[in-house]
């Protein structure tokens, strides 16, 4: 049924199982992936991730620092990544708002890093401990300029582990920031989590050139250039300004600007089929497809089951990766249906890319819970489906 599962569940033969918090599972996933540097500023509901990480690295390889603010946290992550460590930060909405400029820097300089956003309500301080899927577009469009990055959305503590491992692998493979877009519901949820043994899940490390060769591109290669990390005599020339493939700045050339923007974006768009993770459930004969992600996927599944029991032909599309948006795949998978309902815990953020992707003759509706911050009941989903079929 799954197009691509994050991990093949059959392979989970060994390891240990524990009952724990989603945020703790995220920190464990980071350790599994080889994260050596974590910088953060405390914020609810994300702080548990760093708190667990620092306890676990106290007597082993790896560092945690609490910075003066979120701007410094992402800045230190970028520095540590160029120092050769796998690096991450974890925060929530207001923290992401502060980090956005440097997230753009990480994108422009092709710096692998993982940014966990345990989303809460907004705007501004909002409700620190209430879950909303409030920053879906901010993750993708928040920094200035045309750019692309990768974002995944876990829907359980198990996926907080699995997708954090996956996020590090994607960051290293494509040399790009990767978001883990969780929310307070998943981050603060206790569930059973299975930890695979070391070696069971793939762990990817960045390509590093052996020696300095100014003819070898270190940036702007759509097949992903090797990363000239610091301290090895590789004479890295890293700048957030418009640059050529060797890193040299060029801020007055239209051609260089065009080349950089297209290649940074092209790098991820060329690999979109490989990057995209999703799940479909009973979509083949569905009249109505529920598009959902993260915590909302759980509500969509329950709504689908109830609707099916009432004879309504409903299916689920679950976006495990949200960005880059798999436009063609969403269009193809929904081509046969009458309506798509975009179920999300906000006023309709992913509604716009989904509505733009599906064919013109298909209705697209918003599925928003009656009270933001709570999940819809299965009966609510059935009501939306009936509305869509009118």
């Amino acid at each position: 049924m799954n197009k691509k599962d994050v991990n093949d569940k059959k392979s989970k033969k060994s390891g240990k199982t524990d009952f724990l918090l989603g945020n703790v599972a995220c920190a464990e996933g980071a350790l599994y992936a080889g994260c050596g540097f974590f910088a953060a500023y405390p914020i609810t509901p994300a702080s548990d991730i760093g708190e667990h990480f620092v306890k676990r690295v106290m007597d082993r390889e790896g560092f945690f620092i609490q910075t003066e603010d979120e701007i410094a946290a992402i800045g230190a992550v970028i520095g540590a990544s160029w120092g050769g460590l796998k690096a991450m930060t974890a925060t929530s909405g207001p923290g992401i708002s502060l980090m956005l400029e440097n997230i753009g820097l990480a994108t422009a300089t092709e710096t692998p890093c993982v940014i966990v956003n345990v989303q809460r309500g907004g705007p501004s301080t909002g409700s620190p401990s209430l879950p909303l899927q409030a920053d879906m577009l901010q993750a993708r469009y928040g920094s200035q300029g045309d750019y692309e990055l990768i974002a995944c959305a876990p829907s359980s503590p198990q996926e907080m582990f699995d997708l954090t491992v996956w996020a590090f692998n994607a960051a290293e493979k494509y040399r790009t920031p990767v978001f883990v877009l969780s929310d307070a519901l998943v981050g603060h949820m206790y569930e059973q989590v299975h930890f695979p043994e070391p070696g069971e899940l793939p762990v990817i490390n960045r390509k590093i050139p052996e020696r300095y060769d100014k003819k070898v591109p270190m940036f702007l290669d759509e097949d992903v250039a090797p990363m000239s990390v610091f301290g090895r005599g590789l004479k890295s020339n890293v700048t957030g300004s418009t640059h050529f493939a060797d890193g040299t700045r060029s801020v007055a050339s239209i051609a260089a600007m065009d080349d950089e923007i297209r290649k940074l974006r092209g790098k991820l768009h060329r690999a979109i089929d490989e990057i995209t993770l999703d799940e479909t459930c009973r979509i083949e004969d569905a009249d109505v497809v529920l598009y959902s992600y993260g915590s909302m996927f759980r509500a969509a599944l329950a709504g689908m089951e109830l609707a099916r029991s009432e004879g309504l032909r409903v299916g689920c599309y679950r976006a495990t990766t949200v960005w880059p948006f798999p436009e063609k795949r969403v269009r193809d998978l929904t081509a046969h249906c009458k309506a798509v309902i975009v179920c999300e815990n906000n006023l309709g953020q992913m509604y716009y890319p989904v509505a733009a992707a599906v064919a013109e003759n298909i209705r697209v509706l918003k599925g928003t819970p009656e009270i933001l911050g709570g999940l819809p009941r299965p009966e609510d989903v059935v009501r939306w489906v009936k509305e869509a079929l009118k």
């Binding site: 410094a72 970028i78 520095g79 820097l105 004479k235 020339n237």
Partner: protein, 288 residues
């Protein structure tokens, strides 16, 4: 006309530290060239292996001192954020000598919070603050170091804010090596740089530098770097002499020299290593 063969051409003795094919860019008379030369002289005197260093800079004229010219590891980041990036880099590579170039705006305004906290942590970085008292690259607006009364692009009636003394700020915030020089004191900058990169802790060198184009415009010395340098010579007082003078005689003067050196204060990355080492040995001890 016959072209002069390359072997006979004059080669700058520090050219070997420059990336191939890069032209160094400054406005005419800018102090950046003096700062760059002083630092590279220091690297030369320290053994000349530029691969032992990592250079980090932010946005503004000072960011262009290392990037993209220096033929070593360069990280040129967002405005005001070079200290966080340098902090992450230093933790990842504690043996690397991490040298940060900041302007007075980059360090004292947008990056002020990072600056005081990097001082407080006493992390082993060498920060060179090129203080020209103005926002040069953006066209001559007031900086946090612009003297009161100056009519800049954003203070047409005269600057009513009081300037930061960034060296005093560094000392108060917890830096453990602080020196102040002007671009008149090129050899002294080199000597302080050598001490700073060897100093185990947060080392701060303020270099009062001329901006003949923008600052020169507001003080009536437009494009007159020689007069500005002469002014630095006339108005500088060595710290040893300054401590004996009454405040009234120090007004308008630049106190230069090594203002503070406290190598005994614990350094951040070494402290991180120490607590981890102790946690490890505690764990081993518990097993026994």
């Amino acid at each position: 006309m016959k072209k002069e063969s390359k072997s006979n051409a004059f080669r700058h003795p520090l050219e070997k530290y420059f990336r191939d094919g890069i032209k160094y860019t400054t406005c005419p008379g800018c102090g950046n060239g003096i700062v760059a030369q002083s630092v590279l002289q220091g690297i030369e005197a320290m053994g000349g292996n530029i691969d032992e260093y990592a250079f980090v800079s932010g946005i503004g004229c000072s960011g262009w001192i290392p990037s993209p010219a220096f033929a070593g590891d360069l990280l040129h980041v967002t405005h005001g954020r070079s200290l966080p990036a340098a902090t992450g880099l230093k933790i990842a590579l504690p043996r690397q000598k991490v040298v940060v170039f900041q302007g007075d705006g980059d360090l004292g305004a947008i990056g002020g919070n990072h600056f005081i906290h990097a001082c407080r942590r006493n992390i082993d970085l060498t920060v060179i603050c090129v203080n020209n008292g103005i926002y040069g690259m953006t066209g001559g607006q007031a900086a946090p170091t612009t003297p009161g009364g100056l009519k800049t692009a954003t203070t047409p009636l005269g600057n009513v804010e009081r300037p930061f003394d960034v060296s005093a700020l560094a000392i108060t915030a917890g830096a453990t090596f602080v020196a102040r020089w002007t671009t008149w004191h090129a050899a002294q900058i080199t000597a302080s740089f050598r001490k700073a990169v060897s100093h185990p802790g947060f080392a701060f060198i303020e270099v009062i530098s001329q901006c003949p184009v923008q600052y020169g415009k507001v003080v009536g010395m437009r494009n007159d770097p020689v007069a500005m340098l002469a002014g630095y010579r006339e108005n500088s007082i060595p710290i040893a002499a300054a401590v004996k003078l009454p405040e009234s005689e120090k007004a308008g003067k630049i106190v230069v020299g090594e203002l503070l050196c406290r190598p005994e204060v614990p350094e951040f990355t070494r402290e991180l290593a120490r607590v981890k080492r102790e946690a490890r040995s505690g764990k081993e001890g518990a097993r026994k």
